[in-house]
């Protein structure tokens, strides 16, 4: 059966040739060949920028294990861009946001990001979601000198200005978050036995690193990790119970927070639960709890999330008088009514606002380097409750958060905002300045 005959081999080679030619014929090559214009004229100043549009791209988990909840982020960002486009755009240019599904699989992330940069000529990669997924493409994005802005992950790895000069984090990084959460638990649960439950990758490890800077080792009775591809976590929960942990701090994604809570219920184990921001969105959690427990009773999910301690670096929907929440509600009603206004939607809207902020600062006819320089020069605090860390030597984003507790499906803030840095000894201080209000137009001023 094997075709070792020359004619067949030749046919095979011809086959590849034919396929490649077809592929080549389908290719759309468009690169901006802009003329240098005067300061008032909009030009095609960089790949992905024309006189009328700015095209940016992203990789997002629209299907697969990470999709529940996270699949709302990109549509939410797009809703904000539509709002900006309808109100004058960025110096008159409209934003085109092309986000492709990578199923949270790094192999697919690589393919779609190559497509976005090499074929679609996007100006920047915006808010690529996930630690393992984005790690697979960050070196490539930087080698092409494409701005890699506001990665949707709190990994410290995005703060590497020397090796990844074009990459920037955005959300509160997990080390800072661990420190802030850890100090609060240490102060409010003095002498109690503490257990850790965390995802076994940079996300969970960074979080535990931050916690360990604040919580004495002697107080931690058990440290259990999980692998996101294995949903059987009963052994870990049993170990936490056996060690007598009275407070369990969890650095987990929403699905595993829900599993943790349900497994604890099954083992009749009821410690105080504290969960990192990324795994604690009350609406997402309530939905997952109801789904996993196959319990359709109204309020079932909320009854289980009540009392969970967590932190937040964006204003909470509970604060109905906050100008940012009012702005998000307005845009949500107009462009995104198919989703609930939950933590993921807030996130998508807020990160999109920051991008528009950076683009305005980058100038009227920006090159790719102009955007990177603009962020390196620092961005004023806006959507977050704490300022950004951005500078030429620091590519971390928001530097602080408040603590809160979940009540009736909402995050109720209970403390002022704390800020800190990512070093073991860096002090955690209370932020006294209030968050600036949202502009009335809903669009950052140039």
């Amino acid at each position: 059966m094997i075709r070792s005959h020359p004619a067949r081999l030749a046919a095979a080679v011809a086959g590849v040739a034919a396929l490649s030619l077809v592929a080549a014929a389908c290719s759309s090559s468009s690169s901006g060949g802009g003329k240098p214009g005067g300061s008032g004229v909009l030009t095609a100043s960089a790949p992905g920028i024309t006189a009328t549009t700015i095209t940016i791209g992203s990789h997002q988990p629209l299907t697969g294990i990470a999709a529940p909840g996270y699949d709302e982020i990109a549509p939410a960002s797009n809703a904000y861009f539509q709002y900006v486009n309808a109100h004058g755009g960025i110096y008159g240019r409209k934003i085109i946001y092309k986000y492709l599904n990578d199923e949270y699989n790094p192999a697919m992330t690589s393919t779609v990001v190559h497509q976005l940069i090499l074929q679609d000529n996007v100006y920047a990669i915006f808010n690529g979601l996930g630690t393992p997924t984005h790690l697979a493409v960050a070196p490539f994005i930087n080698s092409e000198h494409v701005p890699d802005v506001f990665v949707a992950s709190g990994c410290e790895c995005w703060n590497a200005p020397s090796t990844l000069p074009d990459t920037f984090g955005w959300q509160l990084d997990y080390i800072r978050e661990g420190k802030i959460l850890g100090k609060y638990i240490e102060q409010h649960f003095k002498g109690k036995k503490i257990g850790y439950f965390y995802q076994d990758d940079e996300f969970g490890q960074d979080g535990v690193k931050g916690l360990s800077y604040e919580i004495p080792k002697s107080q931690v009775v058990s440290s259990q990790s999980y692998d996101p591809t294995n949903i059987k976590i009963a052994p870990q929960v049993a170990a936490l119970k056996a060690a007598g942990a009275q407070v369990v701090i969890s650095f987990s994604v929403p699905a595993f927070t829900a599993l943790l809570k349900l497994t604890m219920l099954g083992l009749k184990y009821n410690p105080q639960l504290a969960v990192s921001d990324v795994g604690s969105d009350p609406i997402t959690l309530a939905g997952l709890l109801a789904e996993f427990a196959k319990n359709k009773t109204a309020g079932f999910g909320n009854s289980l999330t009540n009392g969970i301690i967590t932190d937040g670096y964006l204003p909470s929907t509970y604060e109905t008088t906050n100008s940012w929440i009012q702005l998000w509600q307005k845009i949500h009603t107009q462009y995104l009514s198919r989703y609930q206004l939950d933590g993921n939607v807030l996130y998508g809207l807020a990160v999109a606002y920051t991008f528009v902020q950076a683009m305005f600062k980058a100038g009227k006819n920006p090159t790719r380097q102009d955007l990177v320089n603009a962020i390196n020069g620092g961005l004023p605090q806006a959507v977050g409750v704490a300022p950004f860390a951005y500078s030429a030597t620091d590519h971390n984003g928001i530097v602080g958060a408040y603590l809160g507790v979940i009540r009736n499906g909402e995050l109720v803030p209970t403390t002022p905002v704390f800020v800190t840095n990512d070093t073991p000894t860096g002090a955690i201080t209370t932020l006294n300045a209030a968050q600036p209000s949202a502009p009335a137009s809903g669009i950052p001023s140039p």
Partner: protein
């Protein structure tokens, strides 16, 4: 052919040369591969970087699928776990790249050898199993192996994997497209593997495999070392998979457990069956179909605004399933099987 030559004296010489060419399988295959290299080079320089990147991707899959198609189509053993051998190759390559900084050529060879060694161990067990039991054993291997990365996350990087980002060599210049370099490396390795496999299958080894596949008892009675040849087939297929794994890591820039899921093993099997089992040309068809069709479908879906919502993001996957079913219905013996039947029909008219 000799009749084209008018001068009497030159005929025997030309004939001698042609006869030598048709006698020497190796020379014929090397010549064809050289021709293929020229064609692939011309294509690669004509393509934009993204198509070069896809070319590298297809070539990596071709190498892995070629090994599998030889194993299944020739030796008659089934493996639904070749993705695991790809992982062995990929991780070996990444580890050497990170810690020892060896040149790429050496990394490729060592990765293939390590994967072959693992294949040999597995082949020892496989030689005692057949049919569904063998399939089950290989399946277990594919499912279990990626978990090793989590068990030894200190060395293997856990879920996040290891970086494997090669750059194009300095002599090509600073602005040389990295994707073109990746395409050259992957296609080059693919051609070498094809020459080796084509020779092997045309040799005594290939004939023995076919004999064993068709009737094991008869082959044993004829004096063939059945177990030895079966293990050899596993080694060859694992070495190809290991090489494919490194090539995959090269264009992807990393190795991680999610790169070598059980789904990858199924994809390899799908490509081998779709292309035509036992056919090297079929491996090219199968791999190309597997890489290009899903991307094309996602493109279509995106341009029609389908892929922007979670509910419709599954449409490309759905359409891909339909394409696979249609191909299988139209070409029950794989694409290459169907094509050669078409060619034969035309020839007989």
């Amino acid at each position: 052919m000799a009749s084209d030559v008018s001068e009497q004296i030159e005929v025997p010489a030309a004939q001698r040369r042609l006869a030598w060419l048709s006698r020497s399988t190796l020379a014929r295959h090397v010549l064809l591969a050289a021709g293929g290299a020229v064609v692939l080079y011309l294509i690669s320089v004509g393509l934009d970087p993204y198509r070069d990147y896809l070319m590298a991707q297809v070539a990596a899959m071709v190498v892995a699928v070629a090994g599998l198609t030889v194993l299944i189509g020739l030796s008659g053993q089934i493996s639904i776990g070749n993705g695991a051998f790809m992982a062995v190759g990929g991780y070996t390559g990444a580890l050497i790249f990170m810690h020892l900084h060896w040149p790429l050529g050496l990394i490729l060879v060592v990765a293939a050898v390590v994967a072959a060694a693992v294949g040999a161990v597995f082949g020892l067990a496989a030689a005692r199993l057949r049919g569904p039991y063998l399939a089950g054993a290989t399946l277990m291997f594919a499912v279990a192996l990626p978990f090793l990365a989590n068990q030894f996350s200190g060395v293997l990087g856990g879920d996040q994997g290891l970086g494997f980002f090669i750059t194009s060599p300095a002599f090509l210049g600073v602005n040389f497209s990295l994707q073109r370099w990746q395409a050259w490396v992957n296609c080059g390795v693919g051609l070498v593997v094809f020459v080796l496999l084509a020779n092997l299958t045309a040799s005594k080894v290939g004939r023995s495999w076919r004999a064993i596949r068709d009737d094991e008892i008869a082959a044993a009675l004829a004096g063939l070392n059945v177990a030895g040849y079966k293990i050899l087939a596993f080694i060859v297929s694992a070495a190809c998979a290991g090489l494919g794994g490194v090539l995959l890591a090269i264009y992807d820039g990393t190795v991680s457990p999610s790169l070598f899921t059980f789904g990858l093993s199924i994809q390899l099997l799908t490509a081998a069956v779709l292309g035509g089992l036992g056919s090297l040309a079929g491996a090219i068809w199968g791999a190309a179909l597997l890489v290009i069709v899903p991307i094309y479908l996602q493109d279509v879906a995106v341009s029609h605004g389908f892929a922007s919502q979670a509910t419709s993001a599954a449409i490309p996957t759905l359409a891909y399933g339909v394409v696979l079913i249609v191909v299988m219905l139209a070409f029950p013996r794989g694409i290459q099987g169907g094509l050669s039947r078409l060619v034969k029909k035309k020839g007989s008219l």
